[in-house]
Symmetry: C2
Amino acid sequence: MTTQLVKNAVGKMIPTEINGQPVTPFMGARQYKPTGRKYAPPLATCADYPDDGDKRLPDLKAALVKAGLKDGMTISTHHHFRNGDLVANQIFKIAAELGVKDLVWFPSASFPCHQPLIEYLEDGTIHHIEGSMNGPLGRFASQGKMKGMGVLRSHGGRYQAVQDGEVQIDIAVIAAPTADPFGNANGVTGPSNCGLLGFALADSQYAHKVIVVTDNLVPFPCIPWQIHGNYVDYVVEVEQVGIPERIVSGTTQITKSPDRLYLAELTAKFCDKAGIIRDGFSFQAGAGGTALAIGNYFGDIMRERGIRARFARAGSNKYIVDMLEEGLIEYILDGQTFDLDGVRSMRDNPNHVNTSPFTSYNYHGKGNFASLLDVVILGATEVDVNFNGNVVTHSDGYLLHGIGGWQNCLFGKTVILPIPLFRDRIPVIRDEVTTICGPGELIDVIVTERGIAINPLRTDLLETVKDSGLPIKTIHQLKAEAERICGKPKPAEFTDKIIAAIKWVDGTVIDVVRQVKE
Amino acid sequence: MTTQLVKNAVGKMIPTEINGQPVTPFMGARQYKPTGRKYAPPLATCADYPDDGDKRLPDLKAALVKAGLKDGMTISTHHHFRNGDLVANQIFKIAAELGVKDLVWFPSASFPCHQPLIEYLEDGTIHHIEGSMNGPLGRFASQGKMKGMGVLRSHGGRYQAVQDGEVQIDIAVIAAPTADPFGNANGVTGPSNCGLLGFALADSQYAHKVIVVTDNLVPFPCIPWQIHGNYVDYVVEVEQVGIPERIVSGTTQITKSPDRLYLAELTAKFCDKAGIIRDGFSFQAGAGGTALAIGNYFGDIMRERGIRARFARAGSNKYIVDMLEEGLIEYILDGQTFDLDGVRSMRDNPNHVNTSPFTSYNYHGKGNFASLLDVVILGATEVDVNFNGNVVTHSDGYLLHGIGGWQNCLFGKTVILPIPLFRDRIPVIRDEVTTICGPGELIDVIVTERGIAINPLRTDLLETVKDSGLPIKTIHQLKAEAERICGKPKPAEFTDKIIAAIKWVDGTVIDVVRQVKE
């Protein structure tokens, strides 16, 4: 099969078809306008559901069979348990036992705990994965071993794809820390509490069949009901749905590295000099070590001035919960809890609000929250001289990370990437990024340990900080500085085979990932 | 125009078309099965909405014009302010000023405060009303004066009709006690707080254009967000959206009438002897004087036995809030607050949960909550010897009430109608009800001051209470008793003109209302 390629608006050659579906090439950050209708799932009727509301079935296998599991179906799961998920692997083990083939797995993200699924990718049970492939599954795909082409979407892009009918979910399996027999479910209570279930919202609304799997069944009503049982077909009790401790990843501690702390301090100073930190402002910082340190510095500035933030977007953990409880932040709008303090706060504090990719990130809505943020702090594996950013591949070409909310957050008013100038002696600022995940037009500031580069499009920012004493440089100066130390990096080498596509927030394709030449 | 008629499953002659749309005749309580898809609203894109999330326009007129208001459109409103609504009349005043004609008004209910709309029904601004017409608008329709045919739906039927695309809302106007410039809105805070906005949920999800009107604008984020701004096009500030004191109707006080108190006591005794009042049971009682008294008797029984209800469905008011706070009820699942104690409790008590017709009543969902209730206490204007019930017309034929959640609640496990044997010397139990709103197959028990009639279909109930000492009679005995006292009532007299259709919960037509011969 020869793949036909076309050039998109960032100059990338992308295929006209992915897994047999036609592709719209990326046209620019805000250029593509959809003209169709939302996806329309089949009508249901109460006449087909038990009057007493008891939708329980004996086990997951019974539910999958009753949901009509068959070859070629699309099966979705959520990733609120992150590396502690205990459900996804079971689904495909059952599918393999039943001899079902060519499934599409549509997780909101996958993690190293899903490495056992390589067996089912190899034996044909799973045709391909649509969703981020963190770690081993990404490496497997990068080696050209996945039967179909991977499709990576942002959290908002996933909602958009489901809402728009680009991805039609046949069966959604929703692991729930608490549920009732009717299918109402939440993530804030129960022994496996993971906080919320927002990543499964689209799945519940649009999937043809919805299975809720829980290890904490309560009598109706399960309150709060983050997932409405009115969307749910079957409920299954299992021994354990997830390991809540593993929602905490190793990076959710404030960095102790002096270099990283300096990066964080410089970023906070920049925000301050740029006039961003003022009473009623809003910010989003990730859960990485540097981002957490930046939040800390923000806290110091707010305390000193007696001001507070109107809201912070999170990925929550104990640091931001502390700021909420101290009164430095009025509201946390939270998409996923990253530790058990986050879970507790979301359960008990009405100002710690659970959100979903629909409210926060869906680009095919009537606005979303991402563009309301005054400042957004993000990471990247690489940035290029046109401010394009990469978050999915390493400079050696391997696809090892998902997009998360990264693309969606680029719509914030000021987007800052604090990054080291080099990692393992490999420069991070390049002539071209290995994979474009976000266009430079949306990335405003690069903060490195050796200076700050501002996107020339942000003449306002350049003007504001020109006499601030901050180490402002051009991105070319920063790149040259890194290359003086590390030498000019060699680009990764690839075969022609496309192993994954990177979707933009509007469903167009911004780039592809090719098989690494090993 | 001659209207073609067909006979439906309860023997009623109904038209094959209503306002030019084809009609499916009622087939039985659970017989009709939809085969289509949900309605698919047009896709939106953030590119068309302001990045800063500020969707404000100067006034309602500007918003209606920008939403594209034109002849023949369907305009929706909600009724959480009940008789204190200040927004609906303004919409049609503006439409009349703009010379727009033949609008369909699609309220979740209308009240006497909407009497001024008769002017716009007369001058052709409004073609017809789809929704309950309490009081003057119903009388106007019953006089044959409305241009088009009215369509009455239950709360759940309204959600179903919107979800299924039977009614396509062009512009939804959502009066909100609190909102932010992005369109997030709630009913629990602000000077005009009315509790919740659940009746506007379908409108927000499916209308092509959504306008939020508020008198309490707060900075983003408006928390809680009962309506998601992601569905909202425009936000308008006005001086006052509603009069919260008028959500309290005169009937939301416990009855002092000895007859009614006896009815209430007898109903509670019946529930007790029938084994319904046990630990963990659930009940729904309305907000009328008799229903409130029944709730009180339930409370007495629960206190005496040391048991509690798992949940109660409401229309909430101070009486049920007291029971929640005393610990007699674990959860209130509330569709509309009927007084300010209800509003306060919903705002402050996490166990007082706001619901919507989607969660509670939508028959074209994967189940709903109505069928989970152990016992439901409802009213009726008339009942017939086949246990069919009427709630919309009086025995003189005038259409003076809406259906509310009445049809939806008939799916409860045991449905009891405590009704007086006669009102104003007119017997309530008839050979045939003036208008069938609910089929007898779903109505289990009629409690009157002179005895209790159990539907012969409920052989289990008949068996359980046979030696209870309760005054069990047949419905024919009760009817005869009333007629001995009051004489045999004459049926109302009608012309041939159909002025309104009564939809069943599944979108089929169960009966029609004709013009009263005056």
